[in-house]
Amino acid sequence: MLGKTIKNEFVNRWRQVAAIFGGFITFSLIVLVLGKLSQSVIVNSYFKNLVLIIDGIYMFASIGVIIALMIMPFGDFRTRFYKDEGYLTHTLPVKTSTLVTGRMICDLCMVILAAVIWPLGICIATGKANIYSQLVDNALWGIKILGNTVDRALVVGVMVQIFIFVFLGILFTLWMLNAAYAFGHMFNRGKRVKSVAGFIGFAIIFELVIMLLDKITQIEALEKAIDSIIQKICGSNEVATAIVVFGILNIGMIVGVVLLAIVTAYIMKKHLNLE
């Protein structure tokens, strides 16, 4: 049933995904064409100013795509699990855990797609295919100024980990929104207020877990053990250490998403309340 659930998720959501990413790529192409035109001698200064404004709008739009990645799937969750369409979703002969797993996989695919499309859009808009290698060059130059020399592959590794961290962060926030919404809808009154309270509650729990983990890793024996493991893997290379640290953070983020999905599934299984 998981395969069918995932298929159903895609059938229901592809229009939304196409609208976000199709719109972004189209806008990137427009920015590229306008940029090329503005370099031409035949255009006047008004046109060049207009292109500058459009470039500014594009900058906001590229941030907007990231925000839309959280808001649109959350809106879809709300519609298909708690509004009228919920009457169909919750009467499908599928376990709640399967419904939630299918949704989580679809969200993950969407985030992966965004991680491909978003940089691609930026490449198109700037008209430079080597924009990311330039970014690595700049980082290497910065490290060199600080008096260090690092292997290029390691810098790329850190950047990839940061990139993954950002997109996993989006997924994590999305599932925190989903779980909070499910929490708020367990109640008969004040659902919105309780959803907001739920979100704040989950955020506090998340902070507390991080603080707790931080305290645990400060225990002398444990700290030494961790240091020696990292030392064995990375040696004294700080960039390699950064890769490992971000890798651990990313695994933590995945665990967080899974835990939030489990909470959401539990609430829907035990306390579904489609009044």
Binding site: N12, D84, E85, T91, P93, V94
Partner: protein, 233 residues
């Protein structure tokens, strides 16, 4: 005759202030068309939603075909809510594909035939259909299943008499004689002739559960008249 639904000691409330069912006990036999009759707010929809798995009971036990509410019961229950519940951006064909995927008892051929009779293009997006046609598509989808239990919540409320006839005809021509239909309504006159059994719900209590013909004979009145008498304000 075996029991398709067994409800024992069910309590359901909305918050602390409103209790819909204090202690509900009810048994429904297979192979019957049962009218769940009661005024607005009597608990009909709440009962149907609990059977469909959309609401959790606070206490007690609900069994459908001997199973607790879950994925297995949803596979044998076909539910028609009182609202349209499809993603409006899907085509009718998408919808049929989805029902085919999830419900083993779904007869897509029958669904396509009924759509054709209504002149509904399967490639049409639901959003482009009229409200009446959307409701009909929903009914077709629900009745194209060979379910053991059909839960129809107010299927004829708010529709014109011609549409009512279509709905009743669709229900009668498509349901399997071994299955059970539970129809909730307060428009009794329109459905009383097809009912085998009636259940009167008043303030969350079952005040009457009887064979429709026997009740008519006993009281010498139609079900509609009896209903008016029982629920007179």
């Amino acid at each position: 005759m075996s029991n398709i639904v067994q409800i024992s000691g069910v309590r359901k409330g909305y918050g602390i202030s409103k209790t819909v069912f204090e202690e509900l006990n009810l048994t429904l036999e297979s192979g019957k068309i049962i009218g769940l009759l009661g005024p607005n707010g009597s608990g009909k929809t709440t009962l149907i939603k609990m059977l469909a798995g959309l609401l959790r009971n606070d206490a007690g036990e609900i069994l459908i075909d001997g199973m607790e509410i879950g994925a297995q019961t949803k596979a044998i229950v076909s539910y028609l809510p009182e609202r349209t519940y499809f993603n409006e951006y899907l085509t009718v064909k998408n919808l049929i594909g989805m029902f085919e995927d999830f419900y083993e008892d779904f007869d897509s051929e029958r669904a396509y035939k009924m759509m054709e009779l209504l002149d509904i293009n399967p490639n049409m997006v639901l959003k482009k259909l009229s409200k009446g046609n959307k409701e009909k598509v929903q009914l077709i989808m629900v009745m194209s299943r060979r379910a053991k239990l059909y839960l129809l919540d107010e299927p004829i409320a708010g529709v014109d008499p011609a549409a009512r006839d279509y709905i009743m005809q669709t229900i009668l021509t498509n349901y399997d004689e071994n299955s059970t239909i539970l129809i909730s309504t307060h428009l009794i006159q329109d459905i009383e002739n097809i009912l085998d059994e009636v259940i009167f719900v008043k303030d969350g209590r079952i005040v009457c559960q009887e064979n429709a013909d026997e009740l008519r004979q006993k009281k010498g009145q139609s079900i509609d008249e009896i209903f008016r008498e029982v629920f007179r304000c």
